[in-house]
């Protein structure tokens, strides 16, 4: 499910969170801890709907073995490879908790500054942005990789009479994995 699918859910969950806060607040409840938790969890859930797409390169140089190399010499991948990666992002529970804590702090600061007549919006927006941005950068990216065919393999030799001759070869589709981060 891509971010475009998670987006409407994020909107819906934020709306629910705000209505709960409004209604609880009307009853005199301190709404901030619940609101921060609901907003943080909604953002977390949304971000984990992301799909990752990458273009990959691999340097080659690995060795290979083939029965067709009747001299027994190994092949070596002498050209780099290209391919694609697809995957997901995930977050640790600790980082979710940290974001929720920072959102909570931002809301309390806005409440307290607002009580003193300060325009809280620039500060609240900056603090929310900082919490969300810091959280996003903790994402762990994991991909499954497909390596395109066609890397040149040299070194295979076949015995032909009293001499040996090269056995030309190229790679077929390969597989791998990727790990990384967002920036």
């Amino acid at each position: 499910m891509p971010l475009s699918s998670g987006h409407p859910t994020l909107k819906s969950e934020l709306e629910t969170a705000y209505y709960i806060a409004r209604d609880d607040g009307a009853e005199g409840v301190d709404v901030i801890p619940r609101l921060a938790s609901d907003v943080g969890n909604a953002v977390h859930k949304y971000m984990e709907t992301a799909l990752v797409s990458t273009d990959i390169t691999t340097p080659g140089t690995q060795t290979s073995a083939a029965a067709a190399s009747t001299s027994g010499t190994p092949g070596t991948y002498t050209s780099p490879g290209t391919g694609t990666g697809t995957g997901i992002i995930s977050f640790t529970g600790d980082n979710v908790s940290t974001m929720i804590g920072e959102i909570e702090t931002a809301y309390y600061k806005a409440r307290d500054d607002g009580a003193e007549g300060i325009d809280v919006i620039p500060g609240l927006a900056a603090d929310m942005k900082a919490a969300i941005h810091k959280f996003a950068l903790t994402a762990k990216v994991e991909t499954e990789v497909v390596v395109n065919p066609g890397q040149v393999i040299t070194g295979y030799m076949a015995i032909a009479g009293t001499t040996t001759v090269p056995v030309p070869a190229t790679s077929l589709v390969g597989a791998g994995s990727g790990e990384g981060a967002l920036s």
Binding site: S53, A66, K129, S171, A175
Partner: protein
């Protein structure tokens, strides 16, 4: 544009959303649906700017055109991309 750059836009979009909610609320409008939409739009636009970098490990046993297979992995490769 990486997240480091788009965070400025996120900040601005959130400010705009909050000011709109404040002003609409002052007129007695139920601001919550629009605020939720605007905040979710801001976060969504921000995330779509993310750049992805990965370290790539290629598996052994990659086949080749003469029936061979790779016996060791190459040094790590790299991947770059984005989110959708």
């Amino acid at each position: 544009m990486p997240l480091g750059s788009s965070q400025t836009v996120l900040d601005s979009d959130l400010q705009t959303a909050y000011y709109k909610a404040r002003d609409d609320g002052a007129e007695g409008v139920d601001v919550i649906p629009t605020l939720a939409q605007d905040v979710s739009d801001a976060v969504h636009a921000y995330m779509l700017e993310a750049l992805v970098t990965t370290v790539v490990e290629v598996d052994t046993n990659q086949p080749d055109s003469v029936g061979g297979v790779s016996t060791i992995s190459p040094p790590p490769g790299s991947g770059t991309g984005g989110l959708s």
